[in-house]
Symmetry: C3
Subunit: 359 residues, 3 copies
């Protein structure tokens, strides 16, 4: 694939006044891009790194000084501009329609332009929106409703009459609508709590590979509009994930957790059941959130506490072995002072009783 630099600039609304119209074959990182590739630099990228790049063209921040021999394209947001240029180089998979080796129930409804790969399975009364692609081996259960312009990866399973909005992506191996994990002890065995609810995945959600979103016990497990979920993430039954939330790989949400709009959970974070995390809260990697979190809070550690407090405690902990020695030394010093003081008191007579009794 190749594009003229002038075309690229026109399509992302960048000024372009260079007479020589380079042919660009792709995008790459600043330090890896070659003469026919386009790269970008952040406002804070050192000028030396820009100068050292072999990239054919570089998107830079407004105000970045000109640099002889470098073809610089000025943008108010170089990273976003670069992302939009990258999109021009995405090669869409060829449309192959509905593969005859897919198993599609006759009662399923398929929108216009739907693509379904070989060995995919679409159950009774399921509906697939226009232009949605279902990967090979994916299983869309009975009654599931998937919106338009979605990508459902290979070997994905969507069950429990889940609803998936428009423009969603579910990557390979992910499961939506598995049973919630609910049992009650019945004297001699764990008795299963029937899982009767469903899952609602709103518009513009992306879920990575091999993640799990369980159906609700009753009601709905919800993934809010615009939320992005990484690989191997666990979302338990009756969780309510707000809009534009970020869940990084291997994070886990226990039952009935609520995450406010724009919350960000780093990798391997765990949230205890029924906990409410406020809008915009940010939780550091591997933290264990065991109590409600205020909107905008920044937490770290297990149990999760304010990041600054956690760092202060961590720094203090590193000094603890030394502190133990210091205190032991002080014990001896105090004992010595006590003895010497008593000796002096013997010379001088006892200290006044009124003060001594305050011990």
């Amino acid at each position: 694939m190749q594009l003229k630099l002038s075309d690229i600039c026109r399509r992302v609304a960048l000024a372009y006044d260079d007479g020589l119209d380079l042919t660009i074959h792709g995008v790459n990182a600043l330090d890896a891009a070659g003469p026919s590739e386009l790269a970008f630099a952040e406002a804070q990228t050192p000028a030396a790194e820009v100068a050292a790049s072999r990239a054919g063209a570089i998107v830079v921040a407004h105000g970045f000084d000109g640099m002889p021999g470098r073809r610089l394209l000025s943008s108010p947001n170089p990273r976003l501009t670069f992302v939009k240029i990258s999109e021009l180089f995405l090669v869409p998979e060829p449309f192959t329609g509905v593969d005859p080796r897919a198993a599609i129930d006759p009662s399923a409804l398929l929108g216009e332009g739907v693509g379904i790969g070989p060995c995919a399975v679409v159950g009774a009364s399921a509906s697939i929106g226009a232009r949605t692609r279902i990967g090979p081996g994916a299983v869309i259960g009975p009654g599931v409703c998937i919106g338009a312009d979605c990508l459902i990866g290979p070997n994905v399973s969507v069950l429990a009459q889940a609803r998936v909005g428009d423009r969603c992506t579910l990557h390979a191996g992910t499961t939506v609508g598995g049973d919630g994990f609910g049992f009650i002890w019945a004297g001699d065995h764990h008795h299963k709590v029937p899982q009767l609810g469903t899952v609602s995945i709103e518009d513009d959600v992306e879920i990575g590979c091999n993640s799990c979103v369980d159906r609700a016990t009753f009601g709905t497990t919800r993934i809010g509009c615009g939320t992005k979920i990484d690989n191997l993430v666990q979302v338990a039954h009756n969780v309510d994930v707000g809009e534009h939330v970020i869940l990084v790989s291997q994070a886990g949400l226990a039952g009935s957790v609520t995450l406010g709009r724009g919350a960000m959970l780093s990798g391997q974070v765990a949230v205890t059941d029924h906990v409410r995390v406020g809008a915009g809260a940010r939780i550091g990697g591997q933290s264990g959130v065991t109590a409600d979190v205020d909107a905008g809070a920044v937490l770290f550690g297990t149990p999760a506490r304010p990041l600054k407090q956690a760092f202060r405690e961590q720094a203090a902990l590193a000094r603890l072995p030394e502190l133990l020695k210091t205190v032991r030394r002080q014990e001896a010093a105090i004992a010595s002072l006590e003895r010497r003081l008593r000796a002096l008191e013997g010379h001088s007579g006892p200290a006044p009783a009124a003060i001594e009794s305050a011990d």
Copy 2:
């Protein structure tokens, strides 16, 4: 689906003496149930929440006071009664028999009433017990033996001639019988230790989505009767999980771990290889169990230690930054006392040498 309230009560052995026979369309949480839904309240649920519920009928504990205008059904165990009522509303998937698009080896044995979805694969000499359902895309390897009344979800893989008991559920994407992770360093590379063993999953086991149970190196990885495993859980080779164990999401058991009957491991717990966890032990979320655990112990933290100790240490840690300051202040105070005492000793003559030398 709808049921008469009188029918519901009869089927779960609840007294019912209300003349007006309500039609119930489903079950729901106390605060979400509508007038045609049934809910329940725990013994400790505040009466005000019961009063505020719009539920058409509410299962309550014996002794719960009558409430005008509320239709209350009295039970010795409201939650269990409610679960049994919920089961009445489970809609069984229609039986569709063996799909012609499934790939079933001619040597496989299928019990009476077996259901197999499209694109499922059953290998040579595998056997599937009566009424067991195999989901679309599931792979049952050669020689695998699955009992009666099981549910095997979509895209599950069962390998290594594993045996699965009766009434087991394996949810979507789970793998049973993958190779154990065993290598020995052979001077210039990791040499694979052949994994020759198998897996035995006993009766009434449930395993969530995208979990992994590895085959033994030799012998058997065992999941005991009645054990319940959540999503994304790792069970390594040669692990022995006892009966009625609970493994919450993203927990991981290293090779040759033993879990006693009724042990409960919360989310993201890790257990080091060869560790033995006693019957009924409970391990808090994200803990790392690095040594054997007594039966009935309640542990938390990494490394896991008694819960009370872990909490006490955590509380103490929060006070550590302040403690560091206190001790620094004491250092100064002791030095000052020392100087002043020495000054006094100069006035009064030295303290007795015999005492002083004890420092």
Copy 3:
């Protein structure tokens, strides 16, 4: 399966001078092996355990003393010898060729002796090397290139034109080539960063069940030659894993992490994005690596620090609640000393001002 002991010894180059030629049916652990099975003992295995074993033959270290009635086979490396004997008992799956129910694009290239299971899917222009086996339900995407003598498990997905070397094993449910998790905030939503790169898995790599290796944003996510990865492991976009690395179950590497040759990460370890871990470094279970790690370092904890330091801190933490009491007691003792000293100073006159002001 059964082998003559003399044959076994000949094939692994062990001396064998026993007249009686036992028939061996398999291998097993020392304490579980029966009279027709072969076991091994480490150099440090207590002689009593060897004596108590019922094994028909036991591989022991050179120098292990003879033991009446035990058939001992002497080896410089008993474990490696045992592993090689185990390999003799591996039953190769029967070769079944390309199943007619697999969906193979006509443009795909299949090497000699390739085996492909039912309901597997091989995309356009994909190539599969000689003797490689593709399990049932596996999906090999368009343009993917897999080497010779590989095993691709059931329901595996390989995408993004990934390259897989020779003699690699990808176990059931694993995904290779899912999109990296990259988004930038565009004022009112997370804007997806196009993921244009690929994955390169070099020779002799093994990846467990339900793990994920994401494609690079641009460029390549690399898994070095001889590296072994366990189940449920996350490898994010642009990660560079060196040769002969070990990643134990549920470990997670964030974007652009670099792992040096021979590094070993235990279970549930997390590594922050862009961190470089040196060759041969070893990271203890559940650790969180937040900064670059020197070659050969041994770290533990979150944040990861030298193992000895982490243990020292842990031991000190256990003494912290007591320390708090000690320091509180010291506060009182110092206050008492202060009062008594002041009383004495009243008797003897003030201490010299020059010293006192140093407080």
